[in-house]
Symmetry: C2
Subunit: 269 residues, 2 copies
Amino acid sequence: RAAAMAGWARAVRGLLLDVSGVLYDSGADGGVPIAGSVEAVRRIKASGLKLQFCTNETQATRENFVKKLQGLGFDISVAEVTAPAPAACRLLKERGLRPHLLVHHDLVPEFAEIDKTNPNCVVIGDAAENFTYANLNEAFRVLIGMEKPVLISLGKGRYYKETDGLKLDVGAYMKALEYACDVQAEVVGKPAKRFFESALAEMGVPPEQAIMIGDDIVSDVGGAQRCGMRALQVRTGKYRPSDENHPEVKPDAYVNNLAEAVDIILQQM
Amino acid sequence: RAAAMAGWARAVRGLLLDVSGVLYDSGADGGVPIAGSVEAVRRIKASGLKLQFCTNETQATRENFVKKLQGLGFDISVAEVTAPAPAACRLLKERGLRPHLLVHHDLVPEFAEIDKTNPNCVVIGDAAENFTYANLNEAFRVLIGMEKPVLISLGKGRYYKETDGLKLDVGAYMKALEYACDVQAEVVGKPAKRFFESALAEMGVPPEQAIMIGDDIVSDVGGAQRCGMRALQVRTGKYRPSDENHPEVKPDAYVNNLAEAVDIILQQM
């Protein structure tokens, strides 16, 4: 692996890190750090490399998300986190869109500054327990009532794992609304190119000098590569051995975990 | 219209009628008959034409569905109704499938004779209030736990209208599970060819001597035409003027309602 990366890791000036499945495993209990990841984040910061966390997390405000990670021992601040909700807020403002929100209770404060009267679009996130029959029908009615329905989805994940089992992710509910309204959602978050670009802009590093490290072969690795970045897949989180035979996406390298990735990258510098 | 149909309506020996939107408009209050439809059903029966009701109704057993329609004044019996649940039961038995059910409470008795232990497939119907976050996650976990997920969907409608507003239909939830599990559902009910064929077999009438009358341009009209039947669209129920410009499906004729269809057909005989 080190040999495979030697050719290009030397030029690296910044790292984008996925959070869930790379830094920690999430769960109703708050989750647990992945072995070596707390120290790996510290070593990145000490090395002088630029660092940005690039997550599709939409079950909490960035403030609460960061507090949780700090509680697990991570050196992380709100400004270092690129997440779908703030990106969606920028898009809503730019286009004069007033959302009907179908999101997690704890995410609502991210939209505090946004005009939500007389909605002209629907924003869907991983609403979890808020994905009730009544709430889905309500979001559907708002959409189907528009001359040209606008559906904005905070990510398009299929499912994720929590300590009590697998859960349908926002992508499944996005598909339900897409089909019912014969509309295609605009995805904010990974793997959208614009989302990676805004994370790179936060670091001030061009794509060819950045590496994305994630556990999702499509959203993290494929998305980052389409932006011109190198991308590593960790063998933690939602990684499955079958990912290594993915028909379309091939990471620039595999690493067992974030700690190993940081070892190799820092050796090249 | 009468002129347009004169060429072929004379050969007709049997009629397939959609129910919701053709016989009556459904609703939480039980629904109301569409003007002229009660009498139209009587006239069909008096004419000697064969008659079968072909519905995607999955919110009640056929027994209760028929009772409701009899209460509205319709001359209808259980044996005259072709519905997805009994068709699904035949398919489950043929293939030795044991379903996990995600259906309406009132539909469950249709599956009384079916072995549901240790499920090896998921059957989804219009579960309405049973489409909870927990129930969807449970159906998803059963599916994703299979080596080769089998999803059977009782119809694939996008939405329907009740007296208190539009509701997402089974097709939307089917799409959510399809996406999450990367699987394609097998649809039992209209527009599946096999479903129309079993309705025709009940009447003992070949497709070229039968007419389907429905309000759904795709499921009723398109589905029946692909089976070799003629098909009329009524301008009641979920009919919308834009249906008349549908890019793929063109009914053999439009009629304002069932009563008018029966007038024209009986005139030709």
